[in-house]
């Protein structure tokens, strides 16, 4: 599609635009949804589109084109230009990156075997059966296969191509209405795909969760399963964006250089990680993706930036464009040195939370939030799981949670599912004195 990109760029420059970015996509995506141990629907999507971002004397306009013939391209650009000319300038716009750049191939991001995979239903059956073998009665979930091609052309000498594949599954297993467990597996190459582990984990937790008792409110030491902590960290992916900080959607407002997490916590965004679902060779301006340390030893080092925001703050882009809104690619919490058993043995009386959903904020800038454990939730006494509990809510403050991390598992898990849209790598995490509440009537 570079011919389309070049045509758009040429026409846009002729009309009078300054900075121009054209990002074209060709996407083949397949989905198999299942519930009650059977497939409910299978889907296939085919997209072809060009996203255009254009600037005229600091006036910014954007659009997505799905019909790509010359006449429509020309009409659209003229309309965009007319619109841009009538707008007020964005005073704090400082341009896009100057190319060209060199790109390295990132291992394990493309696999022909996924492109050629005819029929993924067998993987669904593997996941369902492994959950049932562990004792589940009902299994639900979703499987995706992805094949994406990205073509980027900018007015600042960038021409870049990336091609990626992926396959992933999310499995939720039930023994009864209130005993459930969840497991996921997301990879970029077929030979690493392990739907069985996802099904098995979902089934194991569901079985352990049978006959839960009502939980009690209070302060507890909480072990967050990677699935649960990934949900919280996925909010970091948005909140770390300089855009979210400026717009008042982040508790990181005004905290650069300050300690916001416990000693030793290292949180990164890694755009170029092999076999990670969010990995891309370049950001939307063509800057090669990189590893960016957001939190180092508990201290907030940087927000996620594009070129314009970086220039505004006299620093360098972190290769996270999004042109108006920088965004994370893969959020990565560095592992610690605890085995899962050692982590549990640290807890005298606490709770193991295997999954959460519905994280919402009272106040983004203050960071006060609550989130609801779903699936197996367990009371821990003297390092052992003693019983499943239910109907509790985590009600706390985001920064306080980060500051109260006392131990991290030594293995990292890659989490990406419906509730965790930006992929997250996280270990098991032990947090001290987490606020737990529950409904009273």
């Amino acid at each position: 599609m570079f011919d389309v990109n070049e045509l758009i760029l040429k026409k846009a420059k002729e009309i009078g635009f300054g900075d121009v970015v054209v990002l074209s996509y060709e996407t083949q995506r397949r989905q198999v949804r299942f519930a009650n141990n059977e497939i409910t629907v299978a889907k296939n999507w085919h997209y072809q589109k060009s996203v255009i971002f254009a600037e005229y004397e600091k006036r910014l306009v954007s659009t997505e084109l799905t019909a790509l013939d010359e006449k429509i391209i020309e009409e659209t650009l003229k309309m965009l230009f007319k619109t841009a000319k009538a707008m007020e300038p964005k005073k704090d716009y400082y341009g896009i990156a100057e190319g060209p750049f060199e790109y390295k191939d990132i291992p394990e991001t493309f696999d022909k075997a996924i492109v050629e995979l005819d029929e993924p239903n067998e993987y669904v059956e593997i996941a369902i059966n492994s959950a049932l073998e562990e004792g589940a009665k009902r299994v639900a979930g979703v499987l995706y296969t992805d094949y994406n091609k990205l073509y980027l052309t900018t007015s600042n000498n960038v021409e870049a191509f990336d091609e990626g594949t992926g396959i992933e599954i999310s499995v939720r297993a039930f023994v009864d209405d209130v005993a459930s467990g969840h497991g996921t597996n997301s990879v970029r190459v077929l030979k690493k795909f392990d739907p069985e582990s996802a099904g098995r984990k979902a089934g194991e937790i569901a079985k352990l969760a049978v006959n839960p008792e009502e939980g009690e409110a209070g302060k507890y030491d909480v072990i967050f399963d990677p699935l649960a902590f990934a949900n919280l960290l996925s909010y970091m992916s948005f909140m770390a964006s300089a855009f979210a900080v400026e717009a008042g959607f982040s508790f990181l407002v005004g905290k650069l250089g300050q300690k916001i997490a416990s000693e030793g916590i290292v949180l990164k965004d890694v755009g170029n990680m092999p076999n990670a679902y969010g990995t891309r060779k370049f950001d939307d301006e063509g800057v090669p993706t990189q590893e960016t340390t957001i939190i180092e030893n508990g201290v907030l080092k940087t927000y996620l930036l594009n070129t314009s925001l970086a220039r505004k703050y006299n620093t360098k882009t972190t290769a996270n464009a999004g042109l108006t809104m920088p965004r994370a690619w893969n959020i990565y919490l560095e592992a610690g040195d605890y085995s899962k058993e050692e982590l549990f043995s640290e807890v005298k009386r606490g709770i193991y939370i295997t999954n959460v959903w519905y994280t919402r904020f009272q106040n983004y800038v203050a960071g006060d939030f609550s989130t609801i454990p779903r699936d197996g939730t367990f009371l821990i006494e003297n390092g052992e799981i003693v019983k499943p509990i239910r109907n509790i809510r985590v009600s706390d403050n985001f920064q306080r949670i980060l500051e109260s991390i006392v131990a991290l598992g030594k293995e990292l898990y890659h989490i990406h599912w419906w509730e965790v849209r930006t992929p997250v790598f996280t270990p098991y995490v032990l947090v001290k004195d987490v606020g737990i509440t529950k409904a009273t009537k």
């Binding site: 141990n37 954007s62 059956e125 979703v142 009537k441």
Partner: protein, 472 residues
């Protein structure tokens, strides 16, 4: 385009589909963003494509394409049929649809002030009005994120059972996030939206800039005069806005038949409601909750759903009794009844699934003063920030943003973040009186995988909850 949609259905039947539907959708519109006084940019949306859904051997397949050629649509149909065949092998029972009466119909929502006739700059004026009101309020509001959005959804739906439904629905909205900083304290009104189906005249009548001014003044007063809310068993009067989120989360969602039957189990969750609970008591007899897509100019408006079924008001709770679930054709068939037109898809590339439209607590016969006058000690919760509910839709929490103490029948000073954390049955059983005046608030309801954020209204009348536990 009409021919292409009809071709898709015929092609699917040729390839062996027992049921086939095709839906063309075109969305065109404008988004404008402004952050802290800076125009962030203007986005133009021009998006169209065709989605095809089929049943073959009791399996369901869906495919879509945005390449609108006969070849590409034909390819999508083939894929949908192939997927349906393959999935039918991993099913315990075939999928069947309820029988419905279908229509050939065209409808549209007309705009008095057609937003297509106005430039980006003219639309930006609405955001500037918010900026002006807020900056002239005398309150320190350092973070302001504002957005304007409009789009026209043009749809054409055809199935092999006689439905041909074409619609043109314009939607317009304004959203703001405002952060008030005073005396080292921060309060926030995030994602506050004003939204309608219709033209700019509706935005102008609703005056979101005045609402924004009220919000920052209320937050400022909260910082200056706010005190701790009472704790323990008190009465709580909830406004139409709070009643709206409560009916949406704890009545609308758990009454969605696909949740009840487990189809959403891995994503949006299941439901505490079971099919046999129809006719059971869930709230006090003053509680009636209605779901109605047909309210003119409502954010959740439609007259035919995305399976071509004619819409009507649905009584989810009548006088405290569970009376009806939200259903599409698949679940109506399982329940041995007809669909009540709850199937919605957000775009051509999404399957229609069971959704809400406009959910509200039906009015009672109390004036607002009567709701307040015999409350000895309580809280009036006007708006909320944090809210959530478990995935069976039973244990929920709402935290007041603007809220006031009620003492001896009078509204007193603001209170900070009163927390109502309660079960669904506890909530609706505690209502002893409902106000006369109904108001609606727009929202985007998330469900489905991949996610489908559909426009909905939530609202109703104010309601009084007796003896509920409030926390702080």
């Amino acid at each position: 385009m009409h021919e292409l949609v009809e071709f898709a259905v015929e092609k699917a039947l040729e390839l062996g589909a027992k049921y086939a539907e095709a839906r063309f959708e075109e969305h065109s519109g404008v988004s404008i963003f402004m952050k802290n006084g800076n125009p962030e940019g203007l986005g133009i949306r021009a998006d169209r494509g065709i989605g095809v859904r089929v049943l073959v051997n009791g399996g369901m397949g869906f495919a879509s394409t945005n390449v609108l050629t006969k070849e590409s649509v034909s390819e999508a149909v083939k894929k949908a049929v192939k997927l349906a065949k393959a999935t039918s092998k991993v099913r315990n029972r075939p999928i069947e649809f309820s029988e419905e009466r279908f229509h050939e119909v065209y409808y549209e929502v007309r705009m008095k002030k057609d937003f297509r006739d106005y430039s980006g700059e003219e639309k930006m004026e609405y955001l500037k009005l918010i900026e002006e009101e807020v900056l002239n309020s005398g309150v320190n509001v350092p973070m302001r994120f504002l957005s304007y959005q409009d789009w026209i959804a043009h749809k054409y739906f055809v199935n092999n059972e006689g439905a041909k439904v074409e619609s043109v629905i314009p939607r317009v909205s304004i959203t703001y996030n405002l952060v008030v900083f005073e005396e080292g304290q921060v309060e926030q009104a995030p994602f506050v939206k004003t939204a309608f189906t219709g033209g700019l005249e509706l935005i102008e009548k609703a005056e979101p800039w005045k609402k924004a001014l009220n919000d920052v003044k209320a937050l400022h007063r909260l910082i200056k005069e706010g005190k701790k809310p009472p704790e323990g068993k008190v009465d709580v009067v909830i406004s139409p806005e709070v009643a709206g989120i409560a009916v949406h989360e704890s009545v609308g969602h758990p009454y969605e038949a696909d949740r009840i039957f487990g189809r959403e189990a891995a994503q949006a969750g299941e439901s505490f409601v079971k099919p046999e609970m129809l006719g059971q008591k869930i709230g006090s007899e003053v509680v009636t909750v209605i779901e109605d897509p047909t309210i003119p100019n409502s954010w959740g408006f439609y007259l035919y759903d995305d399976e071509g079924v004619k819409a009507r008001p649905r009584y989810l709770i009548k006088d405290g009794i569970i009376t009806e679930f939200l259903m599409n054709r698949e679940y109506a068939y399982y329940l041995g009844t007809h669909s009540n037109a709850s199937a919605r898809a957000i775009n051509y590339d999404r399957e229609p699934i069971v959704r809400m439209a406009n959910t509200y607590l039906a009015p009672g016969d109390y004036s607002f003063e009567e709701l307040i006058e015999d409350v000895k000690l309580g809280v009036y919760m006007v708006s909320f920030n944090e809210w959530n509910i478990d995935d069976r839709r039973y244990q929920q929490r709402y935290i007041g943003r603007e809220a006031y103490l009620i003492e001896n029948g009078e509204i007193k000073h603001p209170v900070r973040r009163p927390i109502l954390e309660i079960t669904t049955k506890g909530l609706w059983s505690s209502v002893d009186a409902v106000g006369k005046e109904v108001e609606f608030y727009p929202g985007t309801c998330g469900k489905g995988e991949p996610g489908q954020g559909v426009p909905v209204w939530m609202g109703g009348a104010s309601a009084r909850l007796r003896d509920v536990v409030l926390r702080r």
